[in-house]
Amino acid sequence: MIGFSRSARINIGVMAILAILPVFFWWTGQTFYLSLATRLVILAIAAVSLNLILGYGGLISFGHAAYIGIGAYAVGIPAHHALYGGMDFIASNNGFFQIALAVVAAAVFALITGAICLRTKGVYFIMITMAFAQMVYYFFVSIEEYGGDDGLVIDTRSEFPLVNLDQPIVLFLVSYVVLVLAMWLVNAIVNSRFGMVLQSAKGNNDRTVTLGYNTYLYRLTAYVISGAMCGLAGALLGNFATFISPEMMDWSRSGELMFMVILGGTATALGPVLGAAVFVVVAQFLSELTIYWHLPFGLMLIAVVLFARGGLSGILRGKGS
């Protein structure tokens, strides 16, 4: 692979492994590992979306799990009504409709809450994003029709022409393609003129404003893009799990998403993917060893924060670069 930089070679290598290994699992009938990989890829999409605002925008959202929930319910609710009737205007198994609903609903929610959240700074921002996520959490808890606290079983997955998501390998490949597109999009955005302004506002907001940029609008735009992308991840997660509950939006889930980004390395293309991969695999591995797996897992978290600055991608890229 002459002609690629070291970090580009690593990116291509990791993404190739991520594509080949699950196909291999499928071929050999290891369905469980295939579904583990699918979960990993979907969470990686969410982490990539969070990285756009957290890593490149410096906006520490502690409520990103809300978008996963919104996306998942945007699949679950139309499917529920398609099966059990009611709310005809929304009842549908059409995948395009559900995906569009997920993206638009997440974007609208991001626009409204972002407009308020971005007025605050620092810890206030962290906490108000969390507060809005908790509101969504309790909102879905309160709706009896969709199971409240008990959650909602999705009986039929999103339907697309030619593509059948009921087949685990198809769902994986679709998720993988979405992940690659999401990574490409985030990479394009951060290197564009828009991305330059976003990163400059993270590094020095006063300076960026003085240059004539309304950084509030740039941040809000990034916030909406990130929310919409995470809503898409939620729609995929709903299709994967075929079960959704408000639990998906708990503040600890938002914390996990943040952890994936940090673990892999903020403001890097591959970081969120590596973070999600290690998170999912280590959690699965430890939880099979002992029911007390949260103890070593928590210690790992603390150790990463204390000692591994720059995350895994920093380590992978080596000291030289």
């Binding site: 206030y124 906490m127 309790y138 909102f139 709706i143 928590g298 978290l301 603390i302």
Partner: protein, 317 residues
């Protein structure tokens, strides 16, 4: 406009009074947790998600000691310094290395600490949780006036909460330590310029916060039992309290805690009856508890959108 399904039920003033008292009790417990949080946050600029774990540890240690020494109140007195020492250890080994980092690292490091402490409690005390026995004179009820009867232990919580609040106000406003704490909340470099060992001041503040959170846990344990994860329920609410009150403001924490305690309790008490006015009884009973839990977050969003620094921001930051 909505359609009234039934007449408005007459408001029972006795019930309202009792519920207000319940709200005040919850508010004071919240204040105990939030005051430590706001101190640590305001002075150390450290986001401690694991503050709720100290609340849990206080409850478990006190519960064990109650069985050991045979008396709840004595157990509280012994458990307090132990919780303080635990707070100090957390400060020394997890918090201190993170002071220089940004809030993101604080959130993640202490998030990890929650997992570690919850699991450790599971390993040490088992999954069951511990019911804490009270002395006989605290198990009963007190008649206040008319037909208002309240559990005597809840009155004790209110008294202890008020006493702790008063003690804190005295400490912060009338002592040298308090002067340093106030100075630290508004201007950290000034404190170090005064030649104060800022490291020990930080450790002291952290331990004090731990003791306050621990005390709250000890006081609630005889009511709800000491249980794993009990801290995770209250920590988010405590954060809402200090954000609404203004980070670093003791006064803000106090008023916001009472406000949120009352909103939560009165919401749970009356929201379903209110909803029944315009929706079916079943729907009201299902949605009211969740929506009353939502109220405090709505309050926070409204406060922050109007006053991004909270209700009582410390004067200089």
């Amino acid at each position: 406009m909505f359609v009234l399904k039934s007449g408005i039920p007459p408001l029972d003033t006795t019930l309202l009074f009792v519920q207000t008292l319940n709200g005040v009790q919850l508010g004071l417990l919240l204040f105990l947790v939030a005051s430590g949080l706001t101190l640590v946050f305001g002075i150390l600029d450290f986001v401690n998600l694991a503050h709720g774990s100290l609340y849990m540890l206080g409850a478990f240690i006190c519960a064990s000691l109650t069985f050991l020494v045979g008396n709840f109140l004595l157990a509280v007195l012994i458990a307090l310094p132990i919780t303080g020492v635990l707070g100090y250890l957390i400060e020394r080994f997890v918090a201190r290395p993170l002071y220089a980092r940004d809030h993101l690292d604080h959130v993640l490091g202490t998030f990890g600490l929650i997992l570690v402490l919850d699991t450790s409690v599971h390993l040490i005390w088992g999954p069951a949780g511990i019911a804490v026995p009270l002395p006989a004179w605290l198990e009963g009820q007190v008649g206040l006036f008319g037909d208002v009867v309240v559990p005597s232990f809840r009155l004790l919580i209110i008294a202890a909460g008020l006493a702790a609040a008063a003690g804190l106000f005295w400490l912060v406003n009338y002592t040298r330590l308090g002067m340093l704490i106030r100075a630290g909340a508004s201007n950290r470099t000034m404190v170090s310029a005064l030649g104060i060992d800022i490291q020990s001041l930080f450790a002291l503040v952290f331990a004090l916060g731990a003791m306050l959170a621990g005390l709250a846990g000890m006081l609630i344990a005889p009511i709800t039992e000491a249980s794993i994860g009990m801290g995770n329920n209250i920590i988010i609410t405590a954060f809402v309290v200090i954000i609404v009150g203004g980070i670093g403001s003791m006064k803000g924490a106090f008023f916001a805690a009472l406000l949120i305690g009352l909103i939560d309790t009165l919401g749970r008490a009356f929201l379903d009856d209110f909803f029944k006015l315009f929706m079916s009884s079943d729907a009201a009973e299902n949605s009211a508890p969740a929506l009353s839990a939502m109220l405090i977050y709505i309050l926070m969003a409204v406060v922050l959108s109007v006053r991004p620094q909270g209700l009582f921001p410390p004067k200089v930051r």
